[in-house]
């Protein structure tokens, strides 16, 4: 972390224009990525996720290898690139985290509340969901995002996600589209992508889950949505709610054809 800050500080001190400052931020991040080479701190989460997938745990002392992520029981490779999707056995559209909760509660016997109590990792209190998400997302690295929207419930979820993306509310009148409605614009120094279009959606969506240098944690799409709504000055987005699923499906579908490159390293 210290090296990263020193690196950013040095880069920022060397430039004068703000556009160059923004470039420098991106460059410092690139240098930080280079320091790791092909390594990413998210590998620690990936390893822990793999262990959580295969270890017998919970009241039923079961592993998760019978979990069907959409491509059949136990198939992890390529599954994340085709989520969220409809599941016959639950009769609903589920994103990765919802599906993991379904599997953990059904196979291992934990309660949903137990799983969600540590949904977002914080320091020593690491999240099992984040670790499992990295392990599963990594197994789709290099695969194109593929969301065909064959089921009518998936089409409805997409339409709902789109409406939520443009829904302005709260004291600031913010919608997702307020900040993510254009490519090439910045919030302070942070470059923003237009997430309603393929180009911008691919650029953002394929990088998540990501290791966040500013937090020292791995974060998923679920966290990204939760935290965006905080910044929108809206209340807390419920886990597994129709807006949460709809938005992650909307983003995934818009990113279709983009090649998954998660976990990445982000600011």
């Amino acid at each position: 972390m210290g090296r990263w800050l020193a690196c950013l500080g040095l880069a920022a001190a060397l430039v004068s224009g703000a556009a160059r400052a923004a470039d420098a931020t991106e460059q410092a991040l690139d240098e930080y990525r280079d320091m790791f080479g092909d390594e990413n701190p998210a590998e620690l989460w990936e390893l822990r996720g793999q262990a959580l997938w295969t270890e017998k745990r919970g009241p039923r002392q079961a592993d998760l290898t019978a979990c069907d992520l959409g491509l059949g029981p136990g198939v992890v490779a390529g599954a994340y690139a085709q989520l969220p999707r409809w599941f016959d056995d639950t009769g609903r559209v589920e994103d990765l985290e919802m599906r993991l909760v379904t599997c953990i509660t059904r196979l291992q016997g934990y309660s949903e509340a137990e799983v969600l109590a540590r949904r977002f990792g914080d320091g020593d209190k690491k999240s099992d969901l984040e670790a499992l998400s990295v392990y599963i997302a990594k197994a789709s690295s290099g695969q194109p995002v593929n969301i065909p929207l064959r089921h009518s419930a998936e089409q409805r979820a997409y339409a709902l996600g789109e409406a939520a993306f443009f829904y302005r509310a709260g004291p600031h009148d913010f919608a997702c589209a307020t900040c993510h409605g254009d490519n090439g614009k910045r919030i302070r120094l942070q470059a923003m992508n237009k997430l309603s279009d393929a180009e911008g959606a691919r650029r953002s969506y394929t990088q998540i889950p990501a290791y966040r240098t500013s937090q020292g944690e791995v974060r998923t799409i679920g966290w990204r949505l939760y935290d965006c709504f905080r910044q929108q000055r809206l209340p807390e987005l419920r886990f597994g709610s129709e807006v949460a699923v709809g938005l992650s499906l909307y983003l995934a579908r818009n990113a279709e054809g983009g090649v998954m490159a998660a976990p990445s390293i982000k600011r």
């Binding site: 703000a18 939520a164 993306f165 302005r168 120094l189 209340p235 807006v243 709809g246």
Partner: protein, 209 residues
């Protein structure tokens, strides 16, 4: 069977046919309309000062929520009309406060999020979207540059009133503007808006250096 009973039977059959022919067709042709407001209500929970009431849209927010930003000319006029009606100048007629305090408002991004301390003043977060003082490099580009704002435009009564209105309620000037309606929505106090005005207009403000 009496004629009366026959008629009843026929009526019942007609009713049955009518129901059978209408119901499936309407279900197939017209799926239930998307209730986004209801879905939003069901998908969030109160968290500290950020309560579910914040999900309820006023007319402006509702008209500005069409996917892709579509807006009819009639709706655009309507938005300007209802937001113009909210405009109010400073109560004592004085537009300019303290530019140093204004810079703090422009720099501060916190306020009204559920993790913010509600006893502290809200920020205006101007730098999130606007270039202002030349010395501050970490500015956003969602909005136009405001560098040398007063130096370039002068401080005529019209320019002061226009700028105040823009801060107070941006939608009175540009329908569905991305900029928050700082006065109308009580994000900033009157004094904070005066201070931001001074930050934009004062000759010795960093914005005009």
């Amino acid at each position: 069977m009496s004629p009366c009973k026959d008629r009843l039977a026929i009526s019942a059959l007609t009713l049955l046919l009518a129901v059978n022919s209408v119901a499936p067709a309407s279900a197939a042709d017209e799926p239930p309309a998307l209730d986004i407001a209801g879905a939003m209500r069901a998908s969030f929970k109160d968290k500290k000062q950020a309560t579910l009431a914040r999900l309820e849209q006023d007319e402006t927010q509702r008209l500005c929520s069409a996917p892709g930003g579509a807006l009819s000319p009639a709706d655009a006029s309507r938005i300007v009309e209802i937001n113009r009606a909210t405009l109010a100048g400073p109560s004592d007629g004085v537009y300019l406060g303290d530019h140093t305090a204004g810079e703090r408002v422009a720099m501060t991004g916190s306020g009204l999020q559920w993790n913010d301390d509600p006893t502290k003043p809200n920020g205006g977060n101007c730098y999130a979207c606007h270039e202002m003082a030349a010395k501050e490099l970490a500015y956003g580009t969602l909005g136009p540059s405001l560098k040398h704002y007063g130096k370039l435009r002068g401080a005529s009564p019209q320019m002061l009133e226009y700028t105040w209105n823009k801060i107070y309620n941006s939608n009175a000037l540009v329908p569905c503007s991305l900029m928050p309606r700082f006065g109308h929505q009580r994000i900033l106090t009157e004094q904070q808006m005066k201070d931001v005005m001074a930050y934009l207009f004062a000759k010795d403000s960093p914005v005009n250096q």
